[in-house]
C-alpha cells in the first residue's frame, strides 16, 4: 500500500527549479532512499512533503488525502515526522526536555509525555545524556536527538535528512542499527536522504535518484548502483568538485 504519493511535484525558487515534475511513492513499512548530488533538491522534497513549502505545482498525498496545502504541524499530527539536515535542537533545553516537548503532541499529561520521552531516549541510546543541555552535545548525539525528537511524536512515517553525515565509523554503525530498529521494532516507514553510498545501498529497499530537481532513476539498490545515468550524475559532480 502507498502511504505517501508524490505526484508531479515541482518547486521553483524564483528562476531556479529545485524540483521538476517529481513522482514517486513511499510504500508502507519500506525504507526508501532518496539520493542525488548536492543541490539536487532532496531537502526541498522533504520541505514540500512536510509542509514548509507549498509545491509550485503537483500534489503530495498521504493515504490518499492531499497534504500539500497543510502546515508542518498539521502534517506532523497526521503522522509524518522529520529530522533536519543541519541539526536544530532546542539549544537551551536539556535533551530530555527537547523530547518531552515533541512528545506533548500526542500525550495528554506531562507524566505521559515524560514516559514516552524516556522510552524514546533509551531506544536511541541517549538515555544517559538526558540531563545534558543540548547545545553541548557532540554532533553524533545531536543527530540522534533529531531522530529521538521525531520518534517522540509517534509517527507512522519518518523523514531522515542525512542522519549519517559527519559521523565517524562507529557512530555510523550505531546509527544504522537505530534506523533498522525504527522499522523493525516500531513499524515506522522511512524515507531517508543520504550521501553515504555504502550506507544507503545496504539499508534501503528501494532508491529514488534526483539530479537537478528531476528524478533520473528509481529501483532496488543493485540496479541503482549499476545504472549509467546515476553513475554519470555522480561522476559529473566529482568532476565539478
Amino acid at each position: 500500500m502507498n502511504l505517501i504519493e508524490v505526484k508531479n511535484v515541482s518547486k521553483r525558487f524564483g528562476g531556479l527549479a529545485a524540483l521538476s515534475e517529481v513522482t514517486f511513492e513511499l510504500k508502507q513499512k519500506e525504507i526508501l532512499g532518496l539520493i542525488g548530488p548536492n543541490g539536487a533538491g532532496k531537502t526541498t522534497m522533504f520541505n514540500v512533503i512536510n509542509g514548509f513549502y507549498p509545491p509550485s505545482s503537483g500534489e503530495v498525498h498521504l493515504r490518499g488525502r492531499k497534504i500539500s496545502n497543510r502546515k508542518p504541524h498539521q502534517v506532523c499530527k497526521l503522522g509524518v515526522a522529520r529530522t533536519f539536515q543541519v541539526v536544530r535542537p532546542l539549544q537551551r533545553m536539556s535533551v530530555l526536555d527537547n523530547v518531552i516537548a515533541s512528545a506533548f503532541m500526542r500525550a495528554a499529561t506531562k507524566a505521559q509525555a515524560e514516559e514516552v520521552a524516556l522510552e524514546v531516549l533509551k531506544f536511541s541510546n541517549l538515555h544517559d545524556d538526558r540531563e545534558t543541555i543540548s547545545k553541548g552535545l557532540p554532533l553524533g548525539k545531536r543527530k540522534r536527538l533529531e531522530i529521538a525528537r521525531a520518534l517522540a511524536t509517534l509517527p507512522e512515517i519518518i523523514l531522515l535528512d542525512e542522519s549519517f553525515a559527519g559521523l565517524n565509523p562507529t557512530e555510523i554503525n550505531e546509527q544504522i542499527e537505530i534506523v533498522n530498529k525504527i522499522r523493525s521494532e516500531r513499524g515506522i516507514t522511512i524515507l531517508i536522504i543520504e550521501h553515504h553510498m555504502k550506507v544507503i545501498m545496504s539499508i534501503s529497499d528501494r532508491i529514488v535518484v534526483l539530479n537537478y530537481g528531476r528524478k533520473i532513476a528509481e529501483g532496488i539498490p543493485s540496479e541503482i548502483g549499476r545504472s549509467p545515468t546515476v553513475i554519470e550524475a555522480y561522476l559529473g559532480e566529482e568532476h565539478r568538485a
Binding site: N50, F52, K71, P72, H73, Q74, C76, K77, A81, R82, F84, R88, P89, L90, Q91, R92, M93, D97, I100, A101, S102, F104, M105, K110, A113, R149, A150, T153
Partner: protein, 314 residues
C-alpha cells in the same frame, strides 16, 4: 530552601503593612510589585516565547483606560476595570497577535513598537472617549491609606507568579520555549506556532493590562503620555526583565526592585532631569555586555567578579 523562597517572600510581604512604614516606602513597594507584574507578564512573551515586544505600554495603557473609561462614562467604580481589562485585553491581544505574530524577530519587535505609539496617538485624539490629553481623574479615591492598594497589587503579583509557574511547567511552557529556541523545528514537531504564540501574547497582554487597571485605581489619574509612553513604560518593561534575568521566575521581580530603586535615586539627584534616560541606557548596555542573562541568570558570574576582586585586594 530555594523552592520555598517565593513563599517566604510572600509571607514577609503580607506582614509589611503592620511594620508601619512611611507612606513613601509603601508607595515604592507598591510600584515594585506593579513593575514585577508587568515584568513577569512581558517575560511570558519575550523571555520564554522569544517574541520581544517594545510595545507593552499598549497593554498597560489599554488596561488603565479600561478602568478609567468605566469610571468616566458608566460612573461605576474603576475597580471594575480589573475584570473588565481581562476581556478587553484578550480582544486586543487577539487583534495584535493576528497582525504582528506572523512577523518574526526584529520585525515583530518593530511592529509592537509602532503599536504602542498608535495607542498613544489614538488615546490623544479620541477626545470624546478618553478626554484626550486632559486625562481621566478619579475624584473620590477608594482609600487614603496605602495598605489595601498594597494588598491588592500583592495579590495580583502572587497570582501572576503562580500562573506563570503552572504554565511553564505544563505543555504550554514547553511549547513556548520550543518556539523561542527554533520556530521551524517546533512547527515540524507538531506545534502550531501561530496558535501558541497567540496564547502567549494573550497571557502577557492580560496580565500587563491588569497592572494598568490597578495603576488607574491607585494613582487616580491617567493621560496618554503617562500610560502609553514608549520610554517610560515599554522600554522600562524590557529593562526590568533584562536587568533581572529573562526567562527566569525571579528575574522580573529582582529587575523591578532595581529599576524602581534606581529611578528614585536618580530622580532625587539634583540637576539630572531628563538625563535619567541616558543613565538607564548606559546601564542597559552594561547589562547586555556583562550580564546577558540578567542578575538572576548570571548571579554566579557576579559572585566570581566579586571574589576575584576580593582576592586581588587582600
Amino acid at each position: 530552601m530555594k523552592k520555598y523562597l517565593p513563599l517566604i517572600i510572600f509571607t514577609v510581604l503580607l506582614a509589611v503593612p503592620f511594620i508601619g512604614f512611611s507612606t513613601y516606602i509603601m508607595h515604592i513597594l507598591i510600584l515594585v510589585l506593579m513593575w514585577s507584574v508587568i515584568g513577569m507578564a512581558w517575560n511570558i512573551l519575550g523571555g520564554y516565547t522569544g517574541q520581544v515586544s517594545f510595545g507593552h505600554a499598549a497593554f498597560f495603557g489599554v488596561g488603565a483606560y479600561t478602568a478609567g473609561i468605566l469610571y468616566q462614562h458608566l460612573g461605576i467604580s474603576a475597580w471594575w476595570g480589573l475584570p473588565a481589562s481581562i476581556v478587553v485585553l484578550t480582544a486586543l491581544s487577539l487583534v495584535i497577535g493576528y497582525i504582528c505574530l506572523r512577523l518574526r524577530g526584529a520585525y515583530f519587535a518593530l511592529a509592537t513598537l509602532a503599536l504602542g505609539e498608535i495607542c498613544r496617538v489614538t488615546a490623544e485624539n479620541l477626545v470624546d472617549f478618553t478626554r484626550g490629553n486632559l486625562g481621566i481623574l478619579i475624584k473620590e479615591r477608594t482609600w487614603v491609606d496605602k495598605t489595601w492598594y498594597f494588598y491588592i497589587i500583592l495579590f495580583i503579583a502572587a497570582v501572576t507568579y503562580s500562573i506563570i509557574k503552572i504554565v511553564m511547567e505544563s505543555k504550554l511552557g514547553y511549547y513556548f520555549v520550543a518556539i523561542r529556541e527554533d520556530q521551524d523545528a517546533a512547527e515540524s514537531l507538531g506545534i502550531d506556532t501561530t496558535f501558541y504564540k497567540t496564547i502567549s501574547l494573550c497571557l502577557s497582554g492580560i496580565l500587563t493590562g491588569t497592572a494598568g487597571a490597578f495603576y488607574m485605581n491607585y494613582m487616580g489619574y491617567i493621560d496618554p503620555g503617562v500610560v502609553f509612553p514608549l520610554y517610560d513604560i515599554s522600554i522600562v518593561t524590557v529593562m526590568v526583565v533584562m536587568v533581572g534575568g529573562a526567562a527566569t521566575y525571579g528575574g522580573p521581580v529582582i529587575g523591578a526592585v532595581i529599576m524602581v530603586f534606581l529611578a528614585e535615586v536618580i530622580r532625587s539627584l539634583p540637576h539630572i532631569g531628563a538625563a535619567h534616560q541616558t543613565i538607564f541606557g548606559i546601564i542597559l548596555i552594561f547589562i547586555i555586555m556583562f550580564l546577558p542573562n540578567g542578575i538572576a541568570g548570571d548571579y554566579l558570574k557576579l559572585f566570581k567578579i566579586f571574589r576575584k576582586h576580593n582576592r586581588a585586594s587582600s
